[in-house]
């Protein structure tokens, strides 16, 4: 069996190699070498709006929502408000939410402030463990930060890492994403360009195992072309943009 596979592989690669010399003939236009500088943009954000405004408008168009707060300290208060709206029972009983590790959320004293409001963070360390998985899969709110956010499309980029589960932005019905202003870029292209300049792009992809761009809530128009939200991923996506310059 193994023999067959490698024979087939050599055969196919041999065929492709023998065609490489004819590349010019095969592809009518040769691929460009080098990258445009400044980066090429598919959908530029509007000139007459700030990045935050564009991001918020775009996300709202896609059935997401967005809060903008001035300083990191106000973030906790917004989270409490938002979770309270999603889960009315918060008034009376303590609630657990699925979260990235507190030091990955870039907001000082967040965990303590939330604890005072009856919200505790469940930070899974291994979701292949059955108990962890069961506990994580019944929670209704997931809390994450972002690797980057993009004003032109209202998207966020999530990476996996120690203390940064994919589950938090994927399993719960509601996703809350904290977006530090310093990570808001006009476009994907601008962000990639920065990563390239700093020589960080390859390491970022490699170290995170998965990099995911998320644009609004999970959706489908599969049943009689009616738009339904929350098919497999979150049904609501709420971003809290905050100024992290201090």
């Amino acid at each position: 069996m193994m023999g067959d596979v490698s024979t087939a592989r050599n055969h196919i690669l041999g065929r492709l190699r023998s065609l490489i010399g004819q590349r010019e003939q095969i592809f009518r236009q040769q691929a460009t070498t080098g990258l445009p500088d400044p980066p090429m943009t598919v959908f530029p954000p509007p000139d007459d709006k700030s990045l935050v405004e564009s991001f918020a408008i775009k996300l709202a168009e896609l059935a997401g929502s967005c809060d903008v707060v001035r300083a990191g300290e106000d973030v906790a208060e917004r989270i409490v408000k938002h979770v309270g709206k999603l889960l009315p029972e918060l008034e009376s009983e303590p609630t657990e939410i699925l979260s990235w590790a507190a030091d990955e959320l870039h907001v000082p004293r967040l965990e303590q402030t939330l604890a005072e409001a009856n919200i505790s963070l469940f930070v899974p360390d291994n979701l292949h463990d059955q108990n962890t998985r069961s506990r994580a899969s019944v929670l209704d709110v997931g809390l994450t930060a972002v690797e980057a956010a993009f004003a032109n499309t209202g998207s966020i980029a999530l990476t996996t890492g120690v203390g940064r589960s994919r589950a938090a932005g994927l399993l719960p019905l509601n996703h809350l994403a904290l977006v530090p202003l310093s990570r808001l870029y006009p476009t994907f292209e601008a962000w990639l360009w920065t990563l390239r300049q700093d020589g960080r792009l390859e390491a970022l992809l490699h170290d995170s195992g998965q990099l995911a761009f998320v644009t609004g809530p999970s959706k489908s128009a599969d049943i009689e072309l009616t738009l339904t939200l929350g098919v497999h991923g979150p049904k609501t996506v709420h971003a809290i943009v905050f100024d992290d310059s201090q």
Partner: protein, 326 residues
Amino acid sequence: MVHKRAEDISELFQRELGMPPTDDPEEMCAAARKQLRGEFLSAEMGISGCNFAIAETGTICIITNEGNGRMATSMPRTYVAVMGIEKVVPRVEDALLLWQAVTRSGTGQEVTVYFSMSSGPRRPGHPDGPEEMHVVLVDSGRSRIIERGYADALMCLRCGACLNFCPVYREIGGHSYGDTAYSGPIGAVVTPLLSDDPTAVKELPFASSLCGICRDVCPVKIDLPRLLLDLRHDLTQLGASPRYERTAIRAYTKAAEKPTRYTRIAKLVNWLSRLLPRSAEGDLTRLPPPLNAWTKARVFPRPASRSFRTLWNTTARDGSKGSHDG
């Protein structure tokens, strides 16, 4: 599920999931989510296709709106991606650009909800992600397409724009393109190329008016009409055209060699056509075989009373009167 009606789906859900009857897509969706969620969380292996594979980083990219792609690549212990060898792009920037192109042309969104880029199994200390990741590269005739000189066809992103705009596809639908996953204009090119005997599906490249709208809407500018013409040429070289057609072309070549011969034959044909049955408008309603295939379904336009050559000669004689306005 796009081709099922809401009632059908509801019935299916009642039977399989024991769900009460409903016609609310929202409710059905919630039921599907619940059911599939259990499966995603207990599955040992997740299998996905691949929209782009990035050469410089060894990354597999998947596009979804629902989130099934993120689930399959994140929750099970083993993740297997199956990809055609043509999915490889050089750089991360290329994948991001093509993602926006395919989404725009496919569904009209700017970007899909999810774009997942997996570059291997989970790293030490990561809370989730597959423990193993395998990629299966499938050739299945693709390198042969390059060999046959049709590499351009492999740039296809499978956005579906050429299908949606194609007047032929809109009439005849997807089942006419054989059992490959490609239909419409791109299918008319790829299906013969993928088959061991291209002459077995020789009709496909001919089933086109070459109107060119497919080329205009294609986000990667594949020149589909050009490829269709090339294929017609290659198929004819392979002897795929019917015998009477070959004989007719040979006869025409002979006739067209000498102007006098051509004129005489044209006159003869014109005269003979007067013997054929005509409709009230004067169009021909019945032609002799093998041309009767045409008149079985429609009339053949009546020949002009004066041939092009006669007109041309008259015009050339009166040319000084300025009938060619420039």
